[in-house]
Symmetry: C2
Subunit: 306 residues, 2 copies
């Protein structure tokens, strides 16, 4: 087995396809898995594999065929809106545990999973450190949290290193347009009114390329346990939306406060990024204003589909 | 589908085989599953199925073939000693989540899982109520705890009732002889010295038939969430061992304190049994002294294998 062969799952996803370049740069032989076995615009020297990870036999065959030393597992159910509460989350718990088990059995050494800020108790003091209380309010958060508990305990006993990148909010070109930044930006670029809530809540946004770089670095490290992947900066959603209005040249299309704030919406979700900064030596490469402007430009350059 | 058809997994196990009678008495059509598809000494009017639940396709086929309204899931990795730390625990998390998912998809209505006192933070004030802090110290406890988190959240979203019986210590005829009560009793019956620790720790012991009755009652109820299955009485391990010495007629064979107390052994693990008593109207039918004497008699009547 190559000592530096990584299997990336969810490799055609919003984050996944941006991890492939950074992993190649770090000297990994990169094997990318997705349901269809490919993604446009990704580096040429990646070996693609098609596999449905919810199918135990396809999953096992993939793991055995690749024989990776490292696993970066990003695949999960991610349908915007639905993913918070869908029972399908439970299938991904089982598939993830199965994957880590099979990876260890096949001689793997280090596995990195993708967690979420939704694992934390959002009522805790901010910013949220990795050892802050966990109290997920959603099935998605419950399932990610439970998965981490199992794979960490499993890793200790099965002799593989396990790390867990907890992603906060993210944005960037190619984001699903049902998600906040892409949704507002799309309206503005189309010259349509963008109705949002008042946007007083504080959130921690990181450009998807910085998120992907962080996952590549975490894979290429010996850190164990949870590591927040975020900017560490709290900004209001209002600020994000106004930046998009400015970048699109249409601040007058913004209608902040036209939508009600969702009940139970926490006032702040911000990461403490000490581990990312001090132990992985990573800071955001893309400033928020630049990243949002880039996202607007990208959308403007896309052919309109509808 | 019958409105009262129950699928019992782990049905040939120490607890499982004793749930079949109580479930029949409660009017269930009883389908029992085990790897071999049978167990000696169980009621005749039970339909047995052979299935390896760690095999996703065998598991799915079982669930679909039975079409149960109720699921009592007792199967898990239970090799004495090894089960605390074995990575195989993680497979049972995945299999259990898969089973609950497939049961819901096949039209099931109510599922009961088997938890453990090892889910709790043993340093909490005793007795442990179901809402006591959870902080499993072992991979077994971590995996049971994580499974409950997922299946409870899943049940809420998938529209099935989910309950979780947390078993404390248990004993009775047929227990694996690597476990405390059976081990000491076997030595005494064989006329051999029984070396134990000083046995000052307080524990909550319940006869396996009472445990099985509680699982049958929980299955036949509409209770949700965790329910302790225990006696609610704290007794010292020393008391248990002395009762066995008395029942065997060989108190002089006991050598209490010959073995060291294991490091980290908690001074007390006792259940608060309010839910079991008040919501399921259950109290132990077999007093501890009687149950221990019965266990000794049973062992004495067994042909010696080694």
């Amino acid at each position: 087995m190559s000592e530096r062969r990584v299997l990336v799952t969810g490799a055609s996803g919003f984050i996944g396809r941006r991890t492939l370049g950074p992993l190649l740069e770090r000297g990994f032989e990169v094997h990318a898995a997705s349901r269809t076995g490919g993604a446009a615009g990704t580096p040429a020297d990646v070996a693609w594999h098609a596999a449905d990870l919810l199918d135990a036999s396809e999953r096992r065959a993939l793991v055995e065929a690749v024989g990776a030393s490292h696993l970066l597992h990003l695949a999960w159910y991610a349908e915007p809106g639905a993913f918070w509460t869908s029972p399908v989350n439970a299938r991904w718990v089982a598939a993830t545990i199965g994957l880590f088990d099979e990876f260890a059995a096949a001689g793997g050494a280090r596995a990195v999973g993708a967690g979420t800020c939704a694992e934390y108790d959002w009522d805790s003091p901010q910013p949220l450190r990795e050892d802050a209380p966990l109290a997920p309010h959603t099935l998605y958060g419950i399932c990610k949290d439970a998965t981490r508990r199992v794979v960490e305990g499993f890793g200790e006993r099965a002799g593989i290193e396990v790390a867990w990148g907890r992603v906060f909010l993210l944005y960037g070109p190619g984001e699903d347009e049902r998600r906040l930044v892409a949704n507002v930006a799309r309206s503005l670029v189309a010259g349509k009114r963008a109705a949002t809530s008042a946007g007083t809540q504080l959130r921690d946004f990181l450009h998807v390329e910085d998120v992907a770089r962080a996952f590549a670095a975490l894979t290429d490290s010996s850190l164990l346990g949870a590591v927040n992947i975020a900017s560490g900066e709290a900004v209001t959603v209002r600020f994000i939306v106004e930046q998009l209005g400015h970048a699109a040249g249409h601040p007058e299309l913004l209608d902040l406060g036209a939508l009600p704030t969702r009940p139970g919406e926490p006032p702040e979700i911000t990461a403490d990024v000490s581990r990312l900064r001090d132990e992985l030596a990573l800071t955001p490469q893309i400033a928020l204003g630049d990243g949002l402007a880039q996202t607007v430009r990208w959308l403007r350059d896309q052919p309109r589909v509808s």
